[in-house]
Every structure is written in structure tokens, then in C-alpha cells.
């Protein structure tokens, strides 16, 4: 069953077409890679899917529901999570506070009750702390929960943003370069995590330059060049596609 589908998505900046009529489909339970030379529109496409950019034409459908140009927070609440390329975090807050901010958005509580009903809030906070601890254990950051996010290493930051992306019980997670600028041990860890979560039914859509990672974990790869989808298929098939080779060599 298709989980995410884009139909002719177009995004222009100042007359320059960054994403050009892209059609793609991601099925439930898949791990799909998104590759392409620098500036080929990969992150822009992510931004269009998650509502951070308004598309100029086309539609984005999530579980056959039109989510085109919806506010990013609504898309997040619907079940599409994402990480950012440079592992954005609330740097001045602690690891645990980062997690708590994200978790509380998925607990049903009106703003007014948050101020008045003490007991209910206490209960929810306890739940949230437990969930934060579980997820931090999963990515191996539980011992750093009181550390400022700004003091984490780059690899640790990526793990924390990964953990935060898991908070809304997402159906689909978009990862923007999870392995870039991370040491080999951390890359292995990330790969294991993705596979482990995927085996439990979570779907992934991953931008990555590290071909080893792509070959290793992806079921399917989509290639963008100058905003146009130029190839799609199994990692091995895409790797030997002359159009793809040309795109990378022409860089």
C-alpha cells in the first residue's frame, strides 16, 4: 500500500526550478533512498513534503490524504517525521528537555488544562519522562540526558534528532543525511537502528551521500538531478544506470 505519494511536485526559487514535476511513491515498510549530486533538490523535496516550503504545483498525498502545503506541525502530527541536514536541536536546552518538548505535543491536553489541572499534568509528565528515557536508551544517549544538546558531539546530535523524530509515533521518517560527517562506528549504529525499526514496520525515506549506507539498507533508490527524477529502482540497478553515472560525473 502506498504510504506517501507525490504527483508532479514543482518548486521554483526566483525562476530557478529546484524540484521539477517529481512523481514518487513510497510503500509501507520500505526503506527508500534519495540520492543525487549536490544541489539536485533533495532537501528541497523533503521540505515540500513536510510543509516547510510551499510547492508551486503538484500534490503530496499521505495515506491517500492530500497534505499539500499544510503547516509543518500538522504534517508532523499526521505521522511524517523528519530530521534536518545539520542535526538541528534546541541547543541551549538539555537532551531531556529536547525530548520533553517533542513528547508533550503528542499528549492530548488543552493549553488551559496545562495550567490548571495539576494532577493530570503530573501524570503526563511522568509518562513523558519514561518515554524519553526509553527512546534515549534506544539510541544510547540515556546517560547524557542532563547534558546540554549544544555540548553533544555531531554524531550524538544526529542520534538525538533521530530519537526526537521517533517521538510522534510516526508512520514515515524522513532522514536528511544521517551518516554525513559521522564516524564509522556511529554509522553502523545508525544503520542497525534503521533496520531494527524497519523490521517493526516503520517506513524510511533517506537522503544520503554515503553509497555504502544506501546499498546496504535501501530496498529502493530514487535519483534526482537538477530537480528531475532521472532513475528509480534497486540499489544495484541504479548504480549501473548510465544516466546516474553521467549525472554524478558531470558534477
Amino acid at each position: 500500500m502506498s504510504l506517501l505519494r507525490t504527483e508532479g511536485v514543482v518548486k521554483k526559487f526566483y525562476g530557478l526550478t529546484a524540484v521539477d514535476r517529481v512523481n514518487l511513491e513510497i510503500n509501507e515498510g520500505e526503506i527508500v533512498g534519495l540520492i543525487g549530486p549536490n544541489g539536485s533538490g533533495k532537501t528541497t523535496l523533503f521540505d515540500c513534503i513536510t510543509g516547510f516550503l510551499k510547492v508551486d504545483a503538484g500534490r503530496v498525498l499521505f495515506r491517500d490524504k492530500d497534505i499539500t502545503n499544510k503547516m509543518p506541525y500538522l504534517i508532523a502530527l499526521l505521522g511524517i517525521s523528519r530530521t534536518f541536514q545539520n542535526a538541528r536541536l534546541f541547543l541551549k536546552l538539555t537532551v531531556e528537555q529536547n525530548m520533553m518538548i517533542a513528547i508533550q505535543q503528542h499528549q492530548r491536553l488543552s493549553s488551559l488544562t496545562a495550567l490548571t489541572e495539576r494532577r493530570k499534568v503530573k501524570e503526563l509528565e511522568k509518562e513523558a519522562l519514561e518515554r524519553s528515557d526509553t527512546l534515549l536508551k534506544l539510541v544510547g544517549l540515556d546517560r547524557l540526558s542532563q547534558e546540554y544538546a549544544g555540548n553533544l558531539s555531531y554524531g550524538q546530535r544526529k542520534l538525538l534528532s533521530f530519537a526526537m523524530a521517533l517521538i510522534p509515533y510516526p508512520k514515515l521518517v524522513l532522514l536528511d543525511e544521517p551518516a554525513a560527517a559521522v564516524n564509522p562506528t556511529m554509522i553502523e549504529k545508525t544503520k542497525d537502528l534503521i533496520k531494527q525499526l524497519n523490521s517493526k514496520g516503520l517506513t524510511f525515506f533517506i537522503i544520503e551521500h554515503n553509497m555504502e549506507v544506501i546499498m546496504n539498507i535501501c530496498d529502493r533508490v530514487i535519483v534526482l538531478n537538477h530537480g528531475v527524477k532521472i532513475a528509480e529502482g534497486s540499489p544495484n540497478k541504479v548504480r549501473s544506470d548510465p544516466k546516474v553515472i553521467e549525472a554524478y560525473l558531470g558534477e
Partner: protein, 330 residues
């Protein structure tokens, strides 16, 4: 058995009672009307500074419209008291409601803008208010101003009537308001709502991506901050007893920016510290208003350049580091 946590809590409560008692006992110890006058004004600016602090320090949006809400609150209260002969309490309540509503309405377009445009649009809003106050003569009496705003009175079921016409009694009214607002803000910023504010301040895009409806929280903050500024305005109008469009002048805005920034935005203690500093400082400096603003400008500039987190912010960082040391020591 009494646990250490309970001891701590009881200790905190006692400390709190001592502070409250200390603040409220001042007029019985100091009879100097001049000192009380200074303290009352400091209280008004503190409330206004906290309203700015909520937007700038917690949500991360610099609003220059806080003195506009201050002025709207003051005019609402003054007009109700003078033109419509309503009691102070009704004026005060409307001085909270009206600015909050206006903030919610103008906030919808303003808060969708980038932080850059937001600053300018709030400045534009302030100047429109100024213009309206000067030109809507039928209601505001224009530059002539509204004289004879009565002192507040509290009428308890026609049994007791308390008048806040003396300096000492106004001081009590003032500080009670300061305490209530401070407590409310402490509760607010430490609540789940406060956490969402801070998330927006730190990284709005990330806040959206974890599911925060940022516009909603920004609107909540803007409305609350406008209401708080309205309280300050109402208390100002009934204290000074005269109101004219100069309330919208930049002097108030500059004063409040300096208090908030130097004290440290993003902490509740910061503006309190700032208003203490800037209550004492002019008395020590004893200079003309023109010099004072130059000095304030230099202080503001140095703070932005050298200590952007303010005195209070620096203290907070220091405390957190100490606490963190404690955590790791265990």
C-alpha cells in the same frame, strides 16, 4: 517523618513569605513620599518589562508594541473612569481584556511574518496608536490629555471602602499586582506552554517539525503579554491621574528595553534585577533626563555587545553549571 524535599519546600515557602512581608512592610518603615513614588514607578515598569520579557525572552520575538498595549490599557482605564464614571476594577479588567484582544487580532498577521518584519510591524503599530491618541480627540481629548483620573477605591459590599489615594496604599496595591503577575509568569513559563514558547525561541522550524503549532503559541504569548502591559497601563493612569499621548513616546519603550535587556531576558528574575538596578541608578547618577537617556543608550549598547544574556542570564548559566556538576558528582 519529614523528607529533605519537604524541608526544602517548607523552607522555600517561608523564604517566599518573608520576601512578601518584606516588600509589603516597606511603606510602614519608609515614610518618604519620594522613595515610595520611585518604588511605585519601578513597579509599573517592572510589569511592563515582564510583558516584553515574555515575548522577547521566552518566545524570542522582539515586540516594540508593548508600550502601545501599555498606552491602550491606560487609556481604557482612564476613559472608563473619567468619561463613564466606572469604578477602577472594571477599568482594570477591561485594560487587560482590550489589549489582549487587540494583540490577538493584530497578532494573526504580525506573527506570521519573519522576526524581522515582526519588529517593524510592531513599531508601526505603536506609532499608529500614538497617532490615534493625538487625533481621535472626541475620545482621547487629543494632546490636551485626560486630567483628573480618580484614585482607585475598593468597595466591599458597601461595608468597607478602601481608598488607594495615599502613596503608601498605592504602593501596597502596586506590589500586590507585581507579586500576582510574577507568580503567574513563573507558573506559565515553567508549564508545558512555557516549554513550547522556549522551543519556538530556540528554533521555530524545529519546533514545527516536532509538532508544535507555533502560531497558536505565539498568539497566546502575545495576548498574555499585551494583557500584562495593560495592567501596567491601568495602574499608571490611576497613579499619575493624568494621561496624554506622550505615553506612547519612545521614552517608555527605551526604558523598558534597557531594564529587560540589562537585567536579562529569558529569566523572570532578570527584569526584576533590571528594575532594581534602574531604580537605584538614576538616584545615584542624579542627572537630567537627556543625560540619562544617553547613559541608558550606552548601557544598552554595552549589554548587547558584551553580555547579551544580561546579568540575570549570566547568573542562571552559572547556577546550571553548578547543578550539572552536582549531577555528575553523584
Amino acid at each position: 517523618m519529614v523528607s529533605s524535599l519537604q524541608v526544602k519546600r517548607i523552607g522555600g515557602l517561608m523564604l517566599y513569605c518573608i520576601i512578601v512581608a518584606g516588600i509589603l512592610i516597606v511603606p510602614f518603615l519608609i515614610q518618604s513620599p519620594y522613595i515610595l513614588h520611585i518604588l511605585i514607578l519601578a513597579g509599573i515598569y517592572l510589569i511592563l518589562a515582564q510583558s516584553l520579557n515574555l515575548m522577547l525572552g521566552y518566545v524570542g520575538f522582539l515586540s516594540l508594541a508593548q508600550t502601545a498595549f501599555f498606552g491602550i490599557g491606560a487609556y481604557t482605564s482612564a476613559i472608563l473612569a473619567v468619561t463613564y464614571r466606572q469604578p477602577f476594577w472594571i477599568g482594570l479588567i477591561l485594560a487587560i481584556i482590550l489589549p489582549s484582544l487587540i494583540a490577538a487580532v493584530v497578532g494573526i498577521p504580525f506573527l506570521r511574518l519573519s522576526r524581522h518584519s515582526f519588529v517593524i510591524s510592531t513599531l508601526g503599530f505603536l506609532l499608529i496608536c500614538w497617532l490615534v491618541a493625538r487625533n481621535w480627540v472626541e475620545v482621547t481629548r487629543g494632546p490636551l490629555g485626560i486630567p483628573g483620573i480618580p484614585s482607585p477605591t475598593l468597595n466591599l459590599f458597601d461595608l468597607v471602602e478602601v481608598s488607594f489615594s495615599s502613596r503608601a496604599s498605592y504602593y501596597i496595591l502596586m506590589m500586590t499586582s507585581v507579586l500576582i503577575i510574577t507568580l503567574f509568569l513563573i507558573k506559565l513559563v515553567n508549564s508545558r506552554i512555557g516549554r513550547a514558547f522556549i522551543a519556538i525561541r530556540e528554533d521555530e522550524a524545529l519546533a514545527q517539525s516536532v509538532g508544535i503549532n507555533t502560531l497558536k503559541y505565539k498568539l497566546i504569548a502575545f495576548s498574555i503579554s499585551a494583557g500584562i502591559a495593560g495592567v501596567a497601563g491601568s495602574l499608571f493612569a490611576h497613579y499619575i491621574t493624568f494621561l496624554d499621548p506622550t505615553i506612547f513616546e519612545f521614552y517608555n519603550l527605551e526604558h523598558v528595553l534597557v531594564i529587560t535587556l540589562v537585567g536579562g531576558s529569558g529569566t523572570i528574575g532578570g527584569p526584576i534585577l533590571g528594575s532594581v538596578i534602574f531604580t537605584i541608578l538614576p538616584e545615584v547618577l542624579r542627572v537630567a533626563k537627556e543625560y540619562r537617556l544617553i547613559v541608558y543608550g550606552i548601557i544598552l549598547l554595552s549589554t548587547v555587545l558584551l553580555m547579551p544574556e544580561g546579568v540575570g542570564g549570566r547568573f542562571k548559566t552559572y547556577m546550571h553549571k553548578r547543578r550539572l556538576k552536582g549531577v555528575y558528582a553523584k
